[in-house]
Subunit: 171 residues, 2 copies
Amino acid sequence: MPSEPKAALAAGKLAEYEQLSKIYDDIIKQPRPHLTVEGQGKVLLVLADEDRLSQRQLANRLAMSPQSVNEFVYKLVSRGLVTLDSSPRDKRVKLVSLTSAGRETIENAAREVPTFLRALSDDELSQLTELLDKVTKAMYTDIDNANPTAGVKLHKLFASRYLNRFKKQKM
Amino acid sequence: MPSEPKAALAAGKLAEYEQLSKIYDDIIKQPRPHLTVEGQGKVLLVLADEDRLSQRQLANRLAMSPQSVNEFVYKLVSRGLVTLDSSPRDKRVKLVSLTSAGRETIENAAREVPTFLRALSDDELSQLTELLDKVTKAMYTDIDNANPTAGVKLHKLFASRYLNRFKKQKM
DNA sequence: TCTTGTTAGTCAGGGTACCTGACTAAGGAG
DNA sequence: CTCCTTAGTCAGGTACCCTGACTAACAAGA
């Protein structure tokens, strides 16, 4: 395997990017209401894809414990971004739905493409997308092999989110 | 700007990668002692680059509050990965040094290149590195423009870390 | 030399993202 | 009408971060 150094360099850059993206939002996007891609933000993201889900369904789609989902849902309720109403069919389940404010929040967040991507040309953007696609695919198979139950649940989450936008813009 | 959809796709893939990498380590790397790239792990990373730093210097290099650094340092002390001894020159400062166990920990962590990168060929790895380099450079300039005081401190952190490894392997 | 201002570290307390364990209320199967 | 499962929830815990307030040490000026 002569590819070690190159892989190490790529790994370093990937780590650097991850690190930077954490502080980037805090420093740069002060004006715009940015949606974090974790916790409450993840819940909103799933709901944008499919509304009126039970907390259990959310937990499954997010590969997260139901207790955590519960916590995030109630925080979102208190922020007025989602509502809870019990299902008529099953009194145990409480359906989570986006409010118009919640829907607006995700729309705004999805609309904003990080400015630092302006450094790349169209060709480079396509290249990057393709490379990351290979990387994430490899990650999914690794995850699936290690733990078949946990994987794949959030697979379509981001892809579908951004693909939806793409389709909408084309029409 | 006709590049919007392509940028959006790339942004989506980037978000997907970030999301996955969070859960990837938890699921996959159970056997190996993985070093997280945050909190205590960040501190170790800086110390690997330059040992015997004051907590203040660590805070500066990590663009983090001194209180947080203090917390992580003491956690590392209790794990036996670093030691504290007061500077002879200035009784206020306590120098943080890696123990041999600490050094071993980072060496092991740095040695391991994520397996999902095996999905890429050497050429693709170089491409990815180059593209991410452009992206991170753009992020650094954004950060610098928005807040000249905070930026650039961790700039060399990851790069130097992995470049060092690269150089060592070449010799 | 004594005061004044700065600096390094630290304590207290707070916020968010998670987690496990234990419990209740409702549903379903026999 | 039991018995088991399921959806939600409460309690409590960990890690990563932050701000505010305080002490001890240092450094500079009167």
